[in-house]
Symmetry: C2
Subunit: 385 residues, 2 copies
């Protein structure tokens, strides 16, 4: 278990988790005259003439904004921009450590999709890519859709796509071990926020045919006033079924929890099909603790945390995904690139029951993901280098 005091101590030491460092050293007057005035005027003039030269003469090409309004942070909810900083700094820290990417937190005080869109459009000159983070649904969908259209740099909502990439990889390996296939498995997805909807869409694209999406009101309905939920209901078993999570889980082969702490009981796992797969990914507290799920018969369990086996966490994906996109100056992070990332993760290990995904702390994995993502970018025509 994580100790509260230890976590606070680590964060208060510097304080914080990132620093901005010179990447060019100033040793004497001559260096200064190149780094700053008058020499700095030369790259400025070059970029003024041809804006793409920003990639040649500035840090832009390796800078990723980690943008959040703090409206859906971890399992904590709408805690505000300041309180979101530790998460965004954590992401920036991991980006550099594993992907050699310069991530920077843009925690912004705003409350509407329109304002987030406006903000990110204005900072585009500074960054090579945008990581949207911890923005609540359906606001996040609107923001991502708009920015994908208006920006020339890639936009990636990690809560959606990072999660989908990693869950997709973990589920493939778990199904293989359980000798099941994706098409015929009944897959209950608890939670229809950003990550739940993205995971469902990703699995549908991959061939799943028996998905049951559930939110806190029960199995999704085709007349939900949230059009993203209604649309998903339409394309899944939710269009034919009614009931709550307990009903949905009966005879299910797979549960993917992206919802709330402790909402799954032992009895609910016992009602699943034989040897079920239970991913309880709510953060920081899972829907059901792995030990309890196993007592109820779970064949394979996973959580989002690093202190249990099988950490299914988007930190496996994002450093490599951004590295790959930046390496080829991609204009987008598209479906092909996401699938390539998921395949890279899936194939990186020989899966075992308590090892269905690679360790998070593996820089080689990030580089493997980066290579595959960059290749997919080239093959799908969004690479610009």
């Amino acid at each position: 278990m994580v100790d509260r005091k230890e976590a606070l101590e680590l964060h208060s030491k510097n304080p914080g988790k990132i620093s901005v460092e010179p990447s060019v050293e100033i040793e004497g007057k001559e260096d200064l005259s190149l780094v700053y005035t008058p020499g700095v005027a030369e790259p400025c003039k070059e970029i003024e003439e041809e804006v793409e030269k920003a990639y040649e003469y500035t840090s832009k090409g390796n800078l990723v904004a980690v943008v959040s309004d703090g409206s859906a942070v971890l399992g904590l909810g709408d805690i505000g921009a300041e309180a979101a900083m530790p998460v965004m700094e954590g992401k920036a820290n991991l980006m550099k450590k594993f992907g050699d990417v310069d991530g920077f937190p843009e925690c912004i005080d705003t409350d509407t999709a329109e304002e987030i869109i406006e903000h990110v459009e204005r900072i585009e000159p500074t960054y090579g890519a945008i990581n949207l983070e911890d923005i609540k649904a359906p606001r996040c969908f609107k923001v991502e859709e708009a920015l994908k259209k208006s920006l020339d740099i890639p936009v990636f909502h990690d809560d959606q796509h990072g999660t989908a990439i990693v869950v997709g990889a973990a589920l493939r390996n778990a199904l293989e071990l359980a000798e099941r296939d994706l098409e015929n498995s009944r897959i209950v997805i608890s939670g229809a926020g950003a990550s739940g909807i993205a995971v469902a869409n990703f699995l549908l694209d991959a061939g799943a045919r028996k998905i049951v999406p559930v939110d806190s009101s029960g199995i999704l309905r085709t007349d939900d006033e949230n059009s993203y939920k209604a649309d998903l209901a339409e394309r899944t078993l939710a269009s034919e079924e009614e009931g709550d999570l307990e009903d949905a889980m009966k005879d299910a082969d797979v549960l993917i929890g992206l919802s709330a702490p402790g909402i799954v009981s032992k009895e609910m796992v016992e009602s699943m099909a034989e040897d079920p797969i239970v991913f309880a990914l709510a953060n920081p507290e899972p829907e059901i603790k792995p030990g309890k799920a196993k007592e109820a018969g779970a064949y394979i369990t996973a959580t989002g945390r690093s202190d249990f086996e099988n950490q299914v966490n988007n930190s496996l994906a994002f450093p490599g995904v951004f590295r790959g996109a930046l390496d080829v100056r991609a204009s987008d992070i598209n479906e092909e690139m996401k699938i390539a990332a998921s395949e890279a993760i899936r194939g990186f290990i020989e899966p075992e029951k308590d090892n269905i995904v690679p360790e998070t702390l593996d820089k080689e994995l990030a580089m493997e993901i980066a290579d595959r993502v960059a290749e997919a970018a080239k093959n799908s025509g969004v690479a610009r280098e």
Copy 2:
């Protein structure tokens, strides 16, 4: 002279001049569970409860946004946000090198004061202070005024106040060497942009009584449609005089050029009072080269560049000014703090004709400025720590 090729090579090496680095190392799974999920939830919850704790658990307290719309970059004019990046990265680089401050470029695509104000208000949660930079006048005045009112963190337009601090220090030392006093010296200020107006105001506050501000249309007029210029004309000799720069410079003791390359001739310097002081600070090309000014009788010369003697450049001030303000979590960078910074620079050396200001490359100077600025913040009641 600075070599164009060398400057471009330096900027394209990495490329760029800053990097974002982890300030907390992740060595194993346990570290990861503290830096990221689930441990990261603890500081988030603390800050949600009391927003000031962001200073205790995040990098906010040491982060300074270097904000520019690229509308008045060096001597290059309105070159746009992307082309402004090398300057903002240069500032960030110097902030860390000399002030241990984490500066970060926020180069934004916008064209109005209102949008800049809105943008900076939204990013306030991320930063401990704001450095406005290379925003054209009078837009910059409007932006600074509004943000000083609306933000709880210090806002400092370096082109104005950094320049005023350093010019003030340099001029004091030059006048001492020339055995003149500030009150009775005729001081022509060429240029009524952000820095020209700020320098004039700073010197007026310090006791100067014979200032003649001039812009490209000649000596300022009290009926100028730009209210900042009209107001300055009202409070200086410009309210009594007419003419162009050539007229203004006759019998002047001091010229402070913050205007345009090459606009001051040898003859104009010859028309000044005996042993005049000539600060030709236009960047990157001065109003008159120091050698030429000396041939025309200049007693002391200065430029903004590091490749001539007496570099009067705001890079002397800003790393220490921000260090001091951040150290005491100041809510403002006020007049008292600016005067303290200027005094720290002035008194740091025993002045000589070719050494009226300290070397830019002196971290001890930045720390001395920081101490004096922090002290002034405390004495003037804006320190919060």
